[in-house]
């Protein structure tokens, strides 16, 4: 049995998405920017996709700019928004942002602009005192993710947006993990900029979008063409954009269903693990999290060893740490939460999707406990 529980890394493409995309990879290969109708007719399909993405986010279609994915959207939001006003070039983000935000923040800092990273609390939630202390008159942009990719912990974006606005700053949120899993409404949340990526919700890889609230005039990030009203140069990724549109439409429909499913399956998984695996601890257990994500510390057993044995049984999960000389050895997110480094090396992330089944969770609960037990038996840290 193959069980894929690494949906925060990427998801399977929905059949409806693939079916919608295929014509654009074959006979409808035209360039939407062309004069002739063979190409320009495709503009209608691009606009239809834009409308679907806008509906998912509670935005207007003209506020959506298509990009190559979450990383580009984050780069564009941070670099462009801090370039609007020379008197407000500063950025405030958090220590647990995705590297697409953290490394862009580092770049902005290297240009000599003030950058601050807010701390998080032990349960993974945002430390509001720390955030407020960092915001100053020079802050032009506050960027806080809607939900963390490792822990699934949901951040208080409405509150942060209000604080940012009070300081005269814009507010960006990296919603790459949150969009499609929890309802997003840019209007009521006061969000100015928001990043999404199609492949995190059963769309294709290599396409995403940046929401830019109407009235915000940020400079373009990609230069070299007049696509997207000059906001994002580059030939349209027609198939990808159409795929993103259908994926957004499916996600909207899924979110409106009464019982999303992953929440109950996640609960079953968490309870089963706590019951059957001694030493297990759910990170952020008591705070609001995405309904598909659980990071579990299997205290006493190293995560890569567990992952290797799970992989042999067909179960795919991930860990924030890597035992390797070429990579950073443990998760910076768990470290920022103050989790002991040895315990951080025992963390495994389970991330479900709407295609995850109860049978798959049963299988994991059958296979995982003996693996953990076997490794605990030879671990000097089992009773640490």
């Amino acid at each position: 049995m193959k069980v894929y529980l690494d949906n925060n890394a990427t998801t399977r493409i929905a059949q409806e998405v693939l079916d919608a995309m295929l014509p654009y990879l074959t006979e409808r290969f035209g360039n939407p920017s062309s004069f002739h109708s063979f190409g320009s007719d495709l503009m209608e399909d691009i606009e239809a996709a834009r409308e679907k993405v806008a509906v998912l986010l509670g935005a207007h279609a003209e506020e959506i700019v298509f990009t190559s994915g979450g990383t580009e959207s984050d780069n564009m939001a941070l670099i462009s928004a801090t370039a609007i006003n020379p008197l407000k070039p500063g950025l405030v983000a958090s220590t647990v942002e995705h590297p697409a935000v953290l490394e862009t923040a580092e770049y902005i800092k290297s240009k000599g602009y003030p950058v601050g990273l807010s701390e998080v609390n032990g349960d993974g939630t945002l430390n509001m005192n720390s955030l407020e202390r960092l915001i100053s008159e020079q802050t032009g942009l506050v960027s806080i993710m809607m939900a963390n990719n490792e822990t699934g912990v949901i951040m208080p974006v409405e509150k942060v947006a209000r604080i940012a606005h009070e300081a005269g700053a814009l507010f960006h949120t990296d919603a790459v993990q949150a969009a499609s899993k929890i309802p997003v409404d840019v209007r009521s949340s006061g969000i100015d900029l928001l990043s999404i990526s199609a492949h995190k919700f059963h769309g294709p890889k290599g396409v995403g979008a940046l929401f830019i609230r109407k009235g915000i005039d940020i400079p373009p990030f990609m230069l070299g063409g007049y696509q997207e009203n000059g906001m994002r140069a580059g030939t349209y990724n027609t198939a990808g954009i159409v795929g993103l549109g259908v994926a957004a439409e499916l996600a909207t429909a899924h979110l409106s269903e009464e019982n999303c499913g992953t929440e109950l399956l996640l609960e079953k998984l968490e309870n089963g693990i706590l019951e059957k695996c001694p030493g297990a601890f759910i990170v952020g257990a008591d705070v609001e999290r995405l309904p598909n994500t659980a990071t579990v510390l299997f205290r006493g057993v190293e995560s890569e060893a567990v992952m290797t044995l799970l992989d042999l049984e067909g179960i795919c999960v991930s860990s924030g740490s890597a035992c390797s000389t070429v990579e950073e050895s443990s998760s910076y997110v768990l470290a920022a939460m103050g989790i002991d480094p040895v315990d951080a090396n025992t963390a495994l992330r389970f991330s479900l999707s709407r295609y995850t089944t109860g049978r798959e969770i049963d299988y994991v609960l059958e296979v995982l406990p003996p693996i953990v037990e076997k490794l605990r038996d030879i671990s000097p840290y089992a009773n640490r």
């Binding site: 044995l309 035992c323 390797s324 000389t325 050895s329 671990s379 000097p380």
Partner: protein
């Protein structure tokens, strides 16, 4: 997933000599700061300084567990001196190779072994010192038991010593020495007579 050899996977999934010994002659604990791995070794050593029973515990990835298992297999039956010469290249070779990024996992075993040998020597030296103290201080009971006879130290091991006795009540002297050693070391040290 890392590309691991069949042999490495076998040692990971069926580790040899894992666990702990009840009364080891020496013990070590090491941790790698680089990746957070940790390992313990328990060893029993015979009178010829050869490794008899050896057990390990490891907190680490597949390569770390397999390396520890391989180390114990290679070390078994070797003298402590020979075991100290086991290199991590030898462990890697024994396991049929491993990804270069994982070489650091095989280093921990050597470190654990060096510390265990150090522990063995330390325990042996302290046992020797205690025995020498006893013979020098000659508690009344021992003086009475030895009388005109003599005692000399022949062999020292952390948990057993060999003595040469002449002209004395052997079983009485042995029980006195064992009692004194127990009191001073806090452990059971067997006393045997060599002839």
């Amino acid at each position: 997933m890392w590309k691991y050899s069949k042999k490495l996977m076998d040692h990971f999934m069926n580790p040899r000599n894992s666990g702990q010994l009840l009364n080891p002659d020496c013990h070590s604990e090491v941790g790698s700061l680089q990746c957070g791995d940790a390992m313990t070794l328990d060893i029993q050593v015979d009178d010829e300084d050869r490794i008899g029973e050896i057990r390990f515990m490891t907190f680490g990835c597949a390569a770390a567990i397999a390396s520890a298992s391989a180390l114990t297999e290679i070390a078994k039956g070797k003298t402590l001196e020979e075991a100290l010469a086991i290199s991590n290249d030898q462990i890697v070779e024994f396991l049929g190779g491993m990804p270069e990024e994982k070489y650091h996992c095989s280093v921990m075993g050597h470190e654990a072994l060096s510390l265990a040998v150090e522990d063995f020597r330390h325990r042996r030296d302290s046992t020797a010192e205690y025995l020498e103290d006893i013979l020098r201080e000659k508690p009344d009971e021992l003086t009475a038991a030895v009388g005109d006879g003599s005692i000399s130290i022949e062999h020292i091991h952390p948990s057993r010593v060999g003595v040469r006795l002449s002209g004395v009540d052997e079983s009485l002297v042995i029980s006195i020495l064992e009692k004194e050693l127990q009191q001073r070391t806090g452990k059971t040290v067997k006393v045997r007579v060599t002839r």
